[in-house]
Amino acid sequence: MSLTKEAQNILNWSDTVELIDNLRVDEVGLKERVASLATRSIKKDSKLQALNYIISMCDLTTLEGEDTEGKIGQMTAKAIRPDPSNDEVPSVAAVCVYPALVSKAKKMTQNSNVKVASVSSYFPSGQAPLESKILDTQFAIDEGADEIDIVINRKAFFEGDYRKMYDEIVALKEVCKSVHLKTILEVGELRTYENIKKASLISLAAGSDFIKTSTGKISNGSSREACYLMAKAVWDYKTVTGFKAGIKVAGGIRDSKDAIRYLVIVNEELGSEWLNPDYFRFGASSLVDDVLKQIKKLKTNAYQSSYYFPRG
């Protein structure tokens, strides 16, 4: 299989069909492997390194109807300098906001390395015509978004219309051009492991730079099993096409311990070259604070209260 010439990482439909044909996942074996990776004991220097990785891989996120420019101002400031008392703590990778707030976020981050990501395509449900999704996406890009997080068309997926799901992503990729495209699977709705792997592969084949677990808008967001399967899909896709895609996990990852377990999965299934913000991200709001507390604890042995850290 080879990638089409027009867009550098899109696989044509017939090759995509071959890729998703007969894929099988054994639930028991999958859970066992993920559970065994969770027993890795990450201590001392490797823990500190992991915590700094996590900060640098975070997309600090707010996606609420109540979001205002004032709120975005606070969050971007925190994104650039998560812990003002410790210069060794890196900036986060990006802030993630709704399209209407992209320009404010862009203004706030202009003198930093922090990127601005915007959700689009009628996030979180995706229940809108493709034309609307294209406009939504185009608007976010025109406002200056560096990265676009879209949702897959679950309606099409569950109706068995994989072609439609694929075509929509291809169309949105065309709008994005070089803007980084992250495609949200909403694994909590897909539920079965075969669905997750199938949706991962279709999304990759349609040109996604990243595949992402969840919108964060439903209660069962990310899971380590989903991340593991997505890592397997990324590996399989790389084997077939040579394209190296990234993974973003989001939805319910609240503490450092959990986040480190995700890092272990990526480290052991894909390798350490995936351990940087170009290939792995956490979508997070409260995770950053727990990581900052843990970094402080490793340095000073004190587990400090939340009020020692700026709110975002």
Partner: protein, 479 residues
């Protein structure tokens, strides 16, 4: 950014207290062996001497038998309920002190702490609980009148799962009213010694559990003793054959759990990524020192290349090193002898024409180590495809049709276990029906439960351990 390395996370060994020398355990206490000879037990990961244990001789075995006779007088008068109390106490104590046992097992045998902690010890406790539960229900176990224990049982166990094999043997023997003389493996006696201390602690009547450490000559003396009514042996097929010949002209019970060369069959409709995990677990668990290891990968030819690529990648992520490190996947080879045996078989495999792949891991300077190894093109006639290597070495054969998979899998003198990987339920049943193996796993491997009988076909032995069937190994049905 730098590569992310896991810092060492060493399980502290300060929890174990190892004495310089140990006697043998008879009449409910440790005493000096008549032989006055000792053998050193070392840690195979560092070659450091851990302790010296007695090298029991014929006279020591005689003393153990006399002790067992006294023990039997007391033990045979106890009701099943009373025997169960002791076994439940032992089970609980093993749980309470499981970290101590796990560290000791890892020090003495070289297996990774995550396995001794998460597999061996939970299984050991489960076996004692399970058989404790049977002690007062033996009349319900088989629809037969007059179930009688053998009396004095001699048990000889191997070095791959020292305490687990002890539990497989001692728990059902005591539950059914027998008394025991145990001979642990020469290279891994320490957890059996700690178990003897537990027997003292729970007040097990003297002579019910006896422990004579030593080497092959000690085991031979035990096998030859005329007052032993039953021998239970787990170990190599060679020694098993010797024991069977030795006991042929005596009225004696015998069960043998011997070697294996299990086929792990992967069909092209398997969940490939999970099959890779299962194959890795099947052969690299406990450094491949597993009698039921899935040491022959029997792979459908049309997925061979894809599967082998994934398998090699997965093998590269195996962490080989200090077994006390909680992040170690593969520990040390149990002994110099075993390492030499593995090395020579692997060298021969290369000479015969097998294609060898070994991972890039760095091996520690001291101790006994072997890199995870995969042979492709390992033809059925090669020694590596026929003999039990008992190390981290997997051989691969391909098949075209399910019938051919069965022929290849059964083309061995062994028949202890097998694995089947397919998402198609009917194919699992079709395949399992035709495999000559005592334990068959489908879409998983190395799963054990005290309630499930375990044992072999052909030269893998006879008799079953575990479950209701395991009771029959220690009971004579007299109706």
């Amino acid at each position: 950014m730098n590569k992310w390395e896991y810092a060492e996370s060493i399980e502290s060994s300060s929890i174990v207290n190892i004495e310089k020398k140990y006697g043998i355990f008879i009449d409910g206490k440790f005493q000096n062996a008549n032989s006055k000879k000792f053998i050193k037990t070392i840690s195979p990961s560092t070659e450091e001497v851990l302790s010296s244990v007695s090298l029991g001789n014929e006279i020591d075995i005689n003393s153990a038998v006399e002790s067992a006779k006294e023990g039997l007088k007391i033990w045979s008068k106890l009701s099943g309920t009373e025997r169960a109390k002791y076994l439940f106490k032992l089970a609980r104590l093993i749980q309470e002190r499981s970290r101590e046992f796990a560290v000791l097992e890892t020090l003495d045998g070289g297996k990774p702490i995550k396995e001794s902690r998460d597999f061996d010890l939970p299984q050991v406790a489960a076996n004692f609980f399970y058989f404790a539960g049977w002690a007062d229900k033996l009349d319900l176990s088989w629809n037969a009148k007059g179930l009688k224990p053998y009396g004095i049982v001699g048990q000889i166990i191997p070095w791959n799962f020292p305490l687990l094999m002890l539990s497989w043997k001692v728990a059902p023997a005591l539950a059914t009213g027998n008394v025991v003389i145990l001979k642990p493996a020469e290279s891994t006696p320490l957890t059996a010694i700690l178990f003897a201390e537990l027997c003292q602690e729970v007040g097990l009547p003297p002579g019910v559990f006896n422990l004579v450490t030593g080497d092959g000559s000690t085991g031979a003396a035990l096998v030859k003793h005329p007052d032993i009514s039953k021998i239970a042996f787990t170990g190599s097929t060679g020694v098993g054959k010797y024991i069977q010949k030795e006991t042929a002209d005596r009225d004696i019970g015998l069960t043998l759990e011997l070697g294996g060369k299990a086929a792990n069959i992967v069909f092209n409709d398997a969940a490939i990524d999970q099959a890779v995990e299962g194959v890795v677990n099947g052969i690299f668990f406990n450094q491949g020192h597993v009698c039921c290891a899935g040491s022959r990968l029997v792979l459908q030819e049309d997925i061979h290349d894809e599967f082998v690529t994934k398998l090699e990648k997965r093998m590269q992520s195996l962490r080989v090193g200090n077994p006390l490190d909680k992040n170690t996947d593969i520990g040390a080879i149990n002994s110099k002898d075993q390492l030499d045996k593995i090395t020579s078989l692997v060298n021969e495999g290369v000479e015969e024409g097998g294609t060898i792949f070994q991972t890039d891991c760095e091996l520690p300077q001291n101790g006994f180590w072997f890199k995870p190894t995969l042979f492709t093109n390992a033809q059925p006639s090669y020694r590596i495809s026929r003999e039990e290597i008992f190390g981290p070495v997997l051989t691969t054969l391909t098949f075209r049709t399910p019938e051919e998979a069965i022929e290849i899998s059964n083309n061995t003198e062994y028949g202890l276990s097998a694995g089947i990987w397919t998402e198609k339920g009917s194919k699992i049943l079709w395949t399992a029906d035709r495999l000559q193996a005592g334990v068959i796993w489908a879409n998983t491997f190395n799963k054990f439960d005290p309630s499930s009988p375990f044992g072999g076909y052909k030269e893998s032995g006879f008799g079953r351990e575990g479950g209701r069937h395991g009771l029959l190994s220690y009971l004579k049905v007299q109706s």
